[in-house]
């Protein structure tokens, strides 16, 4: 439904989009994830026919966004980041105008349906200037779904809403997504895992990862890792307890399924396990059997949040060497190599 190939956009000498390619199938809800300034809005504006790309092609429902801009615009509903509202108009007058611009056949019914879906029917007569941010957002959303577009492009649809409204809007998006194709951008991570069937992570104008939220977690996770912390206070590693850091390293490394053990010092170990094996029970048993004091045992699972941070916080090499910095090249290569650009 949406096809984007080698899309680039330059603002003067600044390249906002750099060779972005992706594909969205009919009926998919795809989340566009990235930090502010990553190129989300630019991509969406190009898809909505607001601005032409500098290079590359994009098509919506088979129509090129530049060549057949009007055909594209007829088929999309678009909610820009700053909701385009005329503050002096009432909600219903605004929606009538939007419906006229889009030549909606049964205007009255379409407006009623959209207002009901966005829960703004009771505010129909209010001037938009008097509405709260959340209500305005919903008016904008109503405007985007008025004409039952084939493709819905929503730039930060839940921004400025309170938690209850966020849930409502997400439900609404899911509902719309059953029949229509939805591309939504956000920088709120739970939103993606809750609403989207697929995620595109964009950073500095480039797609750095793509997949379902689960896939992304699994792929970028690599081998499961377990963090173990044993008590290692001075004086404690003694002969009678039979504990020494080196010994522990050996014992843990010998457990079947353990691929490697990294010592972080002070009795902390990061244990790499064979793929899709949960070794936590075995590790706990071994530690208890040796009579060691177990302080911590947890799977070092990566949330979407970790992935996002890893993919999008690119410190220039050597500038800020942190623990994250060590993981980064790995994540980068995973993103570039393992995740296929479908």
């Amino acid at each position: 439904m949406i096809d984007v190939a080698h899309l680039c956009k330059d603002y003067g000498s600044y390249r906002a989009l750099d060779d972005v390619s992706f594909h969205v199938d009919q009926g998919e809800i795809v989340g566009f994830l990235g930090p502010n300034g990553a190129g989300k809005t630019t991509t969406m504006r190009i898809l909505a026919g607001y601005m032409p790309p500098s290079e590359g092609h994009a098509s919506v429902a088979g129509f090129d966004v530049f060549e057949d801009s009007l055909d594209v615009r007829r088929r999309i509903g678009y909610l820009p980041e700053s909701v385009p509202l005329y503050t002096e108009m009432s909600v219903s007058a605004y929606l009538r105008y939007a419906a006229d611009l889009r030549r909606v056949p049964d205007r009255r019914r379409a407006i009623e349906r959209a207002m009901e879906a966005c829960h703004i029917a009771e505010r129909a007569g209010d001037p938009i200037g008097k509405l709260s941010k959340g209500l305005r957002q919903r008016v904008g959303l109503a405007q985007a779904i008025l004409h039952e577009p084939q493709v819905l492009i929503l730039d930060e649809p839940t921004i400025g809403l309170d938690p209850r409204q966020i849930i409502e809007v997400r439900e609404l998006i899911k509902e719309i997504g059953r029949e229509h194709t939805v591309l939504l951008s956000t920088h709120i991570l739970p939103e993606v895992s809750q609403t989207c069937s697929r995620v595109l992570i964009i950073n500095e104008g480039q797609i750095v990862a793509e997949g379902t939220p689960e896939e992304l977690t699994a792929r970028l996770h690599g081998a499961p890792r377990v963090i173990v912390a044993l008590r290692g206070t001075p004086g404690f590693p003694s002969a009678e307890s039979g504990f020494s850091f080196a010994g522990a390293l050996q014992v843990l490394g010998a457990i079947p399924g353990v691929v490697g053990v990294d010592s972080h010092g002070e009795g902390r170990y990061e244990i790499a396990c064979a793929p899709s094996v949960d070794l936590r029970p075995e590790l706990a048993r071994a530690i208890v059997e040796h009579g060691w004091d177990l302080l911590e045992l947890r799977a070092a699972g990566m949330s979407l949040e970790d992935i996002f941070l890893q993919l999008t916080t690119q410190e220039p090499a050597g500038k800020n060497p942190t623990a994250d910095g060590k993981l980064e090249p790995e994540a980068q290569s995973t993103a570039a190599g393992d995740v296929p650009h479908a």
């Binding site: 607001y50 009007l70 006229d100 889009r102």
Partner: protein, 237 residues
């Protein structure tokens, strides 16, 4: 064209809830009344010519105020994104904006028609001259409003749009002063380019195709440029 009308209708609605539009109409009518009374009292003649002459100057200053909002506010408020992603062509947006200002202006101008029965009642006015004078005011208004739409397309700031519009209009109006400094050949060319000469023909009761063509082509040129500016905005983002 229907899209242009949809845009125009919304803009007309915006005029009627805008204090600035009422202020412009009130100022225009107040000054026209003043010119009418002063003109009639001074020349003791059943003519609207003095009023037409003075109103052209008023129009130079008020037309940009009427149009300043049209495209600059859309850019300022981000509503331009709704228009430019709706299945509407850029020139339809510009034309709709222009029509709304022209309709509002023509409506205001129509109210000055009240003076005609007064003249008929107390004298024998030349209705043909009055008609061509009104034609002149409408055509001049159209050109100045189109110029205002153009200056409104250039900026997201209404005040800047108004000031640019006034400066451009005054500059255009006074262009023949420049012509008179530059010798005969140039003066003729510049004389054709300036709106004042064409306007004086019309209020004198001379309806010449050249004058009509001048105003219509000026209006068209400004609107064309405004839609190009809008298109250029897309490229710049």
């Amino acid at each position: 064209m229907r899209n242009a009308w949809i845009v125009a209708r919304r803009e007309l609605y915006a005029y009627f809830v805008s204090p600035i539009a009422y202020l412009v109409a009130a100022a225009f009518l107040l000054l026209s009344g003043l010119f009418f009374v002063v003109g009639a009292a001074r020349w003791q003649d059943a003519t609207l010519q003095p009023m037409f002459g003075s109103l052209s100057i008023v129009l130079i200053f008020l037309a940009p105020v009427l149009t300043m909002r049209l495209l600059s506010r859309e850019q300022d408020q981000g509503t331009i994104e709704l228009l430019l992603t709706a299945p509407v062509r850029d020139w339809e947006v510009v034309l709709g904006k222009f029509f709304s200002s022209l309709i509002y202006y023509a409506g205001t101008l129509a109210l000055t028609g009240l003076y005609i029965p007064v003249l008929v009642l107390y004298g024998h006015p030349d209705l043909g001259t009055i008609g061509s004078g009104y034609l002149g005011l409408v055509l001049l208004g159209a050109a100045l409003l189109a110029l205002g739409v153009l200056s409104s397309s250039l900026t997201g700031n209404q005040i800047v749009a108004a000031v640019t519009g006034v400066v451009a209009s005054v500059g255009l109006w006074l262009l023949d002063l420049l012509g008179s400094l530059l010798g005969d050949g140039v003066q003729q060319v510049i004389g054709y380019l300036t709106p004042s000469g064409h306007y004086y023909n019309l209020i004198d009761g001379i309806v010449d195709t050249r004058d009509l063509v001048y105003y219509l082509s000026a209006t068209f040129l400004f609107l064309f440029l405004a839609s190009r500016v809008l298109e250029a905005r897309r490229w710049r983002g």
